[in-house]
């Protein structure tokens, strides 16, 4: 029989406050298999670990139960202590008497009785634990990045600079994301394109980056270190090698559609280049609107194209790439502004959303950077900004703070004032959140220097009178009802996860929160990893954030990936399912149950098999197996029954 040592932690008063540890020690000392028992104030401290190490030698222990906090916190700590003493780390069991006992009870006697049972079950499990060694698997040193906005670009450059190959997939014809649409960026007012295009060019030129623009990730199969990704490249119908970007095609194209880059405030043709600095710099034909797919209807661009680069019959291309890790950087969309009918969006052409106003401010925008309103081109002299449009409204819209709207609104007001010196910006707000570095200074300077009037309160309604929009709101600081005859209204829309990323995220089975943002492995300590091994998160796909935070997170995700790729092979937990070949009837229920694709039928032996490296040890196949042929290592039916028996004596 194993000689098991039981170590009970006080965790200060977290455990000792509710559980009588002395009584517990006394009660369990005589339990069969327990060779030694001790309690100590902090088992996780170095003296606590030393106590375990010394006792292992002194009492010739070959198994250890630590009765303390959840195994998610210190299981590794104590496993490492066993490693040091040359005892297999799977001869450690954690009895969780804190989260599952002392923290949720207040009756000392009852809690002590429950702790006693929890420890006994851990001892029973440990008695039959096998010594296991980690499973190793090969590691493909290439990375897939989904999304070519600033997050994807930054992560791609960092990993590529680290010497590893990157596959960057962007669904739009050009990389750049939302950042390339912005005019200037807070709080330094750098021109967005000026700081972003060098990075876009670097992506294009980098020998380690393979760019798939106008492409989508269809599926990813495999496991950390060994994924296979299927990428669909939508046809552009223009051969980038032949196209000289002469732009002879767009003037002859008869189809006019609203420009996505200008947020619908200017027009583009069905054959187009999204914006002057597009990467890759090639024209694309918009399948939905081009008439050329019917050869009788139109071939105007093809006729005009001297290098003969246009081919209407192009089909989508499919690629399979092997990769070791994935960074998901699928970004955001504005909260649907159509939902803000109370502010007149859609009804009045001079009610805009934040991104549309960015385009009006931008030198490459529909007005060439001059301040004109869409309806009649007049220069707006009275302009109202409404913060928290769609955000912080749990009853009707988004419950959360979108984090960037306060700052982009004050930037808008400031840039407006720079263009229209005699104009007056008003901002309706609930709170001003300017927590970033130099953000508060930026806000206060803008208010003081540019005379921007903030009203603390929301807008009740907006209606039109002649060519003005009458804005009714409140200033709760003075309890005054406010009325402004505005020439233009800008809604500081909140942000939500990218609409078109929903499909890819659900295909990848990545966990999302109730708002659709990707969930990180730990909100504080593992903020850039997904719980799914091998997946990393960057940018607004994980939650609302500004450019500095996005870039930091992208670099952090890249660092995590670089750390993974610096290993020679992947180490996988040996706690996996096994099949008793004598008992297995090859019914295949396990194959259809396994969420990881780790189960397969051996056609020759007519039994089910387990692919060790794919198995995550979830136990789903074990519970459905009708013949008990499937067992989990170190959690066999026998072990579970022995653990349950402890409670049957009650």
């Amino acid at each position: 029989m194993k000689r098991i040592g039981v170590f009970i932690c006080h965790c200060g008063i977290n455990i000792k406050g509710t559980i009588d540890v002395e009584k517990l020690t006394e009660e369990l000392a005589e339990y069969p298999g327990v060779a030694y028992i001790e309690n100590y104030i902090f088992m996780c401290s170095e003296p606590g670990q030393k106590l375990i190490r010394d006792t292992i030698v002194e009492h010739k222990l070959d198994g250890v139960v630590v009765a303390a906090c959840s195994p998610t916190l210190h299981e590794t700590t104590f496993q490492d202590a066993l490693d040091e003493m040359n005892i297999n780390r799977h001869q450690l069991e954690i009895a969780n008497i804190r989260e599952q006992c002392s923290w949720v009870h207040d009756d000392i006697e009852e809690a002590t009785r429950k702790a006693n049972l929890i420890i006994k079950t851990a001892v029973e499990k440990l008695k039959l634990n096998e010594s296991l060694i980690p499973i190793s698997a090969p590691l493909t040193k290439r990375v897939l990045i989904i999304g070519g906005g600033i997050a994807g670009i930054q992560a791609a450059l960092d990993i590529a600079d680290g010497g590893y190959e990157v596959i960057l997939v962007e669904k739009e014809p050009s990389i750049g994301g939302h950042m390339i649409q912005l005019s200037e960026t807070f709080p330094t007012l750098d021109c967005s394109q000026c700081i972003m295009t060098p990075k876009m060019v670097a992506v294009n030129k980098h020998k380690n980056i393979k760019l798939f623009a106008n492409s989508e990730v269809e599926s990813i199969e495999g496991f950390v270190g060994n994924f296979k990704v299927n990428i669909k490249r939508k046809p552009q119908y223009v051969d980038p090698d032949k196209c000289t970007i002469c732009d002879d095609c767009t003037p002859v194209c008869p189809v006019v559609v609203p420009s996505e880059y200008d947020e619908g405030m200017s027009w583009r043709k069905a054959i187009y280049i999204p914006f002057p600095q597009s990467i890759p710099a090639t024209f694309t034909i918009d399948t939905e609107n081009c008439l050329g797919f019917n050869p009788i209807a139109c071939t105007k661009c093809s006729d005009a194209c001297e290098p003969d680069a246009i081919d209407y019959d192009k089909k989508p291309e499919y690629f399979e790439e092997e990769i070791g890790a994935v960074i998901v950087a699928t970004g955001f969309d504005l909260y649907p502004v159509e939902n803000m009918a109370e502010y007149g969006y859609g009804k009045y052409p001079d009610v805009l959303d934040g991104l549309q106003f960015e385009r009006i401010l931008s030198a490459t925008g529909p007005t060439g950077g001059e301040m004109h309103r869409p309806s009649d081109g007049k220069v707006p002299k009275e302009i109202v900004f409404i913060q928290c449009s769609g955000s912080r409204d749990p009853e009707r819209h988004l419950p959360y703070c979108s984090r960037i709207c306060c700052m982009y609104t004050i930037k808008h007001a400031k840039l407006y004032k720079h263009k229209v010196h005699d104009g007056q910006p008003y901002i309706f707000y609930i709170d001003i959140r300017s927590g970033g570095k130099r953000y508060e200074e930026f806000v206060q300077q803008a208010v003081s220097e540019d005379g921007i009037v903030y009203f603390r309160g929301k807008v009740a309604r907006i209606y039109k009178e002649a060519d003005k929009m009458i804005v009714h709101g409140i200033d709760t600081l003075t309890s005054k009802k406010i009325e402004i005859k505005a020439d233009m209204v800008v809604l500081a829309m909140g942000i939500k996860p990218n609409n078109s990323a929903e499909k890819v995220i659900s295909n990848l089975k990545l966990n999302t929160d109730e708002n659709g943002f990707l969930i990180e492995a730990h909100p504080k300590l593992r903020p850039v990893e997904s719980l799914q091994s091998g997946f990393y998160l960057a940018g607004t796909a994980q939650g609302p954030k500004d450019i500095p935070d996005t870039v930091s997170q992208a670099s952090a995700a890249a660092a995590k990936v670089l750390a993974l790729l610096s290993n020679d092979e992947i180490s996988h937990s040996p706690i996996v399912a096994i099949v008793n070949e004598e008992l297995c009837s090859g019914c295949g229920i396990c194959v259809s149950t396994c969420p990881y694709g780790a189960r397969e039928l051996d056609e020759i032996k007519k039994i089910a098999t387990v692919n060790d490296v794919l198995c995550e040890g979830c136990g789903a196949c074990i519970s459905v197996c009708p013949s008990s042929a499937a067992q989990q290592k170190n959690l066999t039916d026998e072990q579970i029954l022995n653990m349950v028996k402890i409670y049957s004596y009650l």
């Binding site: 002299k381 009275e382 005699d422 104009g423 007056q424 008003y426 206060q444 208010v447 003081s448 005379g451 921007i452 009037v453 603390r456 009714h472 200033d475 600081l477 003075t478 005054k480 009802k481 406010i482 009325e483 402004i484 005859k485």
Partner: protein, 135 residues
Amino acid sequence: MSYEISRNIVRNELVGKIEELSGQNVFDCYQCGTCSAGCPVVEYMDIMPNQVMRLAQFGATEDLINSKTIWICSACLQCSTRCPKGIEVAKVMEALRSINLRKRVGTLDPNKIETEDLKDLPPIALVGAFRKLTG
């Protein structure tokens, strides 16, 4: 009743005058309320010192000129000393008093002030009035 606001109101002549006389930028104020919290006579005022700054930002100058507050203020400078944005609120009060006094409406004969009125009148109002309306 809604308070109608426009760029001409926000930047009206009187706001300019207040800023010129006081040397303060009314937009520096971010409404923390330190001035009102520390003011020893705030309970006698009809508009609190922070509201004076706020109304100046809106261009609601009529409310300010006609307020009792500017006469209740004893110019103790507590607000100016404590303001985290370095605004000399007391100078804004003084500017508002000066704007009123510069109108030189009527003359004042100190001998004709009733003793009963003297009891009620804030000293700063008397000093201000003597300075401008007795010459």
